[in-house]
């Protein structure tokens, strides 16, 4: 078997710790193809499974040609509602807001297009795939409801992770009435699909009532809990291995139906089964970013100060479950106004249930809000950056809490200086490049909350000066293998080359969720705490040992560095880990640590990362084709663990913002509810040639309140701000305001 690489040693050439721009520790495995993703798992006796999915969006399956599939050479079994293994729990039962209803062949009903309706298991992938086609389902079809006008809107009980749908303060109508200038605009954002490059894959194997599952997961503990409930087995009987995720972006946060179906298929046939979603299978049962229609009404006084901000969102959840895109959240955070109203309404449609997708809420909401702010600035005759500064929120709007830190002014200033913003003409359609292309500049404010979940970790320091940290954390590309190692190495006071990190398995202490831009804070916090526990015990041994040069220094009187404990007040007095442990007759010290949010700090402070994104676009004046030529982002997100990886996170987020503004759009035929572009050829995401010149400025920010490490998240904020900045730049280039995203060339033909 090829290596799964749960143990990684830093290669030569990298020495350092927190703040150092180390290259990725798992890099050599990824560039050689040796990093094993779930679908690369090939246990002996493996069978292949393929999904048969619904080609209607609403109705029932009335027939499947099981015999035809079974006759196909190589087909071993066909799993349908008639023979699917019995589950211990109804997959539609809700344990909480994060338990999403799954379609696991419990009945014949169809609730969305591409819903799994059968699984074919075969000796080869080719046979399984053809077997699924041969099932040729027959349906009783009902007319689907698709789109935001599908039904009368209602007020959802909660939005996002359960926030109230309506919030605000003051009197928006009065504020608008008092305004010297007003705008009202409706922005539409389409449904988008995560489209991680790695399709959801699962290799499942049962040994009695013990399950081993190789599958990408952004939350191993929750996935184990869900599977334990569905199969009626203790969580300890389940082992999930997820050393690498080929991207997640939220789609691998909660285990999806097809991943569970792989386990059911393996149980049905009594052999290991691999089920890899085809790309089109990912448009339905794996969640998506819901479409929104956002109505923004803004008023400003003669000085450009906002007198009112009304942000109304209409969004869609599925007919059978709840997730309402919290698009208005950004208006809670960004601008000061005495009259603020944020409301969310929902409709139910015949699609899969929407889910968290990179910057849920903030991405959709900031695309609209940042365009509206631009429109308001224009209505006031003000520079859009100046307008944002005039309306800068010194405290969090609505709650009135101070920010734990907020270096947004510095982001605006540094980003504007780097971009050359001061040369921007106020009026649109003023700039051309040497080739006659229209040029436009736009700005958008970025924001994302600094969240934190719960995690625990184990750390070990050995007499030979090497260490290990163990945590069920997940690396989906954000750089956890490296960042957690940096935190652990500093915590244990050893060179990172002496440190081994083990992660990505559900058998390890819970690493929490790799999501919400909170993984470094959460898993990093746990690793830090575990390392501290180890060092505390080591210090206890040394400082109470009269033979030690550290005797009597007290725990707080020593620090760990370079494999030694050193007296804080006299660095000439130190002793190596090996020496301390040798006298104590020990060969290692093990410690555990936990991390979670501090409720007191959370209550006292508003915690958000911030940024400013400046975009330059070029537009062909006749043909309308658009290209983003330059993006400069300046972001403040607390302490930076690894600037190289943080820059990459910002770049990735900015590319997502570009994609949001110009490319992504899931197209459904409203007559059938079927997808017209459930593939990567027609569902456009940017290609390399769409990439502009990019810069990310890491603005210094100290945050003593946010968490023990002082870090905020960096994975999602890059999208926010960018989509709006690009939309604003397109307006500035062309004079055309496109309020329905993505902005495509046909809108700019004039």
């Amino acid at each position: 078997m090829p290596e799964t690489a749960p143990r990684i040693r830093q290669g030569a050439g990298n020495v350092g710790s927190i703040g150092a721009p180390l290259t990725r520790r798992e890099g050599p495995l990824k560039v050689t193809g040796r990093a094993l993703f779930a679908a690369d798992t090939l246990p002996p006796g493996l069978l292949h499974a393929a999904l048969c999915t619904a080609r209607i969006a609403r109705g029932r399956v009335t027939g499947l040609d099981v015999a035809a599939a079974e006759r196909h050479p190589g087909v071993v079994a066909v799993m349908t509602p008639d023979n699917a293994p019995t589950l211990a729990k109804d997959p539609d039962a809700k344990d909480g807001p994060f338990t999403f209803r799954l379609d696991l062949l419990q009945n014949a009903s169809v609730r969305y297009a591409n819903q799994p309706i059968a699984v074919v298991i075969a000796e080869t992938l080719e046979a399984a795939t053809e077997g699924a086609r041969l099932l040729a389902p027959r349906y009783e079809t009902e007319t689907p409801r698709i789109g935001l006008d599908a039904e009368a809107p209602f007020t959802p009980p909660g939005i996002g992770i359960g926030q109230p749908p309506d919030e605000g303060h003051g009197d928006v109508e009065a504020g608008l009435a008092d305004a010297a200038a007003r705008i009202e605009a409706v922005y539409e954002t389409p449904a988008q699909y995560h489209n991680a490059m790695e399709p959801h894959a699962a290799v499942a194997e049962w040994d009695g009532d013990r399950l081993t599952l190789h599958t990408p997961s952004q939350g191993l503990t929750a996935a184990v809990g869900r599977l334990a409930g569905l199969f009626g087995i203790p969580p300890k009987n389940i082992r999930i291995e997820s050393p690498y995720l080929g991207g997640g972006f939220g789609s691998k946060g909660a285990i999806s139906g097809p991943q569970v179906l792989a386990c059911m298929a393996a149980r049905l046939v009594g052999r290991p089964v691999k089920l890899v979603a085809r790309r089109e299978n990912m448009y339905g049962p794996m969640g998506h970013r819901a479409e929104t229609r956002q109505t923004l009404r803004l008023g400003a006084d003669a000085d450009g100060k906002l007198t009112a901000l009304d942000h109304h969102t209409l969004t869609a959840s599925s007919r059978f479950d709840d997730f309402f895109e919290p698009a208005g959240g950004v208006s809670h955070t960004l601008y000061a106004t005495p009259n603020l109203s944020v409301r969310h309404r929902g409709v139910r449609v015949d699609t899969g249930t929407p889910l968290f997708m990179r910057a849920p809420g903030e991405a959709t909401g900031s695309a609209a809000l940042e365009s509206a702010i631009d429109e308001m600035a224009i209505a006031c005759g003000m520079d859009p950056l100046e307008f944002r500064l005039v309306n800068y929120a010194e405290v969090e709007p609505i709650s009135g809490r101070p920010f734990s830190s907020k270096a947004l002014r510095a982001c605006y200033a540094q980003g504007a200086a780097r971009f050359g913003w001061e040369k921007r003409p106020l009026q649109p359609r003023q700039m051309r490049d040497a080739d006659g292309l229209l040029v436009g500049w736009g700005v958008g404010t970025a924001t994302f909350p600094a969240l934190m979940f719960e995690a625990e970790a184990r750390a070990e320091l050995r007499a030979d000066g090497t260490g290990t940290v163990v945590i069920g954390a997940q690396d989906m590309g954000q750089g956890a293998w490296t960042a957690l190692a940096q935190i652990a190495a500093d915590g244990l006071g050893i060179d990172i080359a002496q440190l081994t990190v083990e992660m990505g398995s559900s058998t390890q202490p819970s690493g929490g969720i790799a999501g919400g831009s909170a993984h470094t804070a959460t898993a990093g916090g746990a690793v830090h705490a575990a390392a501290q526990a180890v060092i505390a015990e080591l210090a206890q041994i040394a400082t109470t040992d009269s033979a030690s040069p550290l005797y009597g220094a007290g725990n707080a009187g020593v620090i760990a560095r370079a494999g030694r404990l050193i007296r804080r007040d006299d660095e000439s007095r130190s002793e190596s880990v090996g020496e301390i442990l040798a006298r104590a007759g020990r060969d290692r010290i093990t410690g555990t640590g936990k991390a979670s949010a501090d409720p007191a700090a959370q209550k006292s402070y508003a915690m958000h990362a911030h940024g400013a994104v400046f975009a330059e676009v070029k537009v062909d004046p006749d043909l309308g084709q658009i290209r983003v030529s330059r993006l400069v982002g300046a972001f403040a997100a607390g302490r930076v663990i690894n600037p190289r990886l943080v820059q990459s996170q910002y770049f990735g987020g900015m590319i997502w913002g570009l994609s949001f503004a110009l490319h992504e759009h899931a197209a459904l035929d409203p007559r059938t509810g079927r997808f017209l572009n459930d593939n990567l050829g027609e569902y456009h995401v940017p290609v390399n040639a769409d990439t502009p010149a990019m810069e990310a400025i890491l603005v210094h920010e100290d945050d003593p309140h946010v968490n023990a490490l002082g870090v905020k998240g960096v994975g999602e904020i890059g999208i926010t701000g960018t989509a709006g900045a690009i939309a604003n730049a397109v307006w500035h280039a062309t004079g055309v305001r496109v309020r329905e995203l993505p902005i495509t060339l046909d809108r700019l033909l004039g």
Binding site: P2, K30, V31, E198, L245, R279, F651, V687, N688, T691
Partner: protein, 171 residues
């Protein structure tokens, strides 16, 4: 049905018998030869994660029928490094952070190796901004959802320039 298939994979003769003519080159590599470095992201030639070199040229392995390639020479990501010594393109991807999750990376790297060969054969340089644009276009058959394109382009340009300089010294 059993179909004999002879391939040379990373310089090594690999004989296999396909039970089925439907097997793509990608599935032959991954599921039959257990060379799982090449990835399946779309299975339709729309993402580039499966890029390998066949007889020296980069193609989408998911859209090539294995039986049709009988006798071909295939290079995959597993064959690039020389022991622990990374291929210059691999090293450049690490140095320039040309990946995040790593799933598209084997395809990106094989595509980059193919592109650099194509540019060399066509006598194209990587000397100025226009050539960077050429690299961007040449790498556009490889999607990266993490958005690591800036690092990818830097890595490919750096590797191509290093190779050109090495070539000049050798000449």
């Amino acid at each position: 049905m059993s179909i004999p298939l002879r391939l040379t994979v990373n310089g090594e003769r690999r004989d296999l018998v396909l039970e089925d003519p439907r097997v793509t080159l990608l599935d032959a590599l991954r599921e039959r030869l257990h060379l799982t470095g090449s990835k399946k992201g779309c299975d339709r030639g729309q993402c580039g994660a499966c890029t390998v070199l066949v007889d020296g040229r980069r193609i989408n392995a998911c859209l090539a029928l294995a039986v049709s390639l009988d006798g071909a020479s295939v290079e995959t990501v597993e064959g690039l490094a020389n022991g622990d010594a990374l291929h210059p393109v691999q090293a450049a991807f690490i140095a320039h952070d040309g990946f995040q999750c790593g799933f598209c990376t084997p395809g990106q790297i094989m595509s980059a190796v193919g592109l650099i060969r194509e540019m060399r054969e066509a006598g194209e340089s990587v000397g100025d901004a226009a050539d960077v644009e050429r690299v961007r276009e040449g790498m556009s058959g490889n999607l990266c959802r993490c958005g690591a394109y800036a690092g990818i382009t830097e890595a490919v340009v750096a590797a191509a320039r290093a190779e050109a300089q090495a070539g000049e010294k050798a000449a």
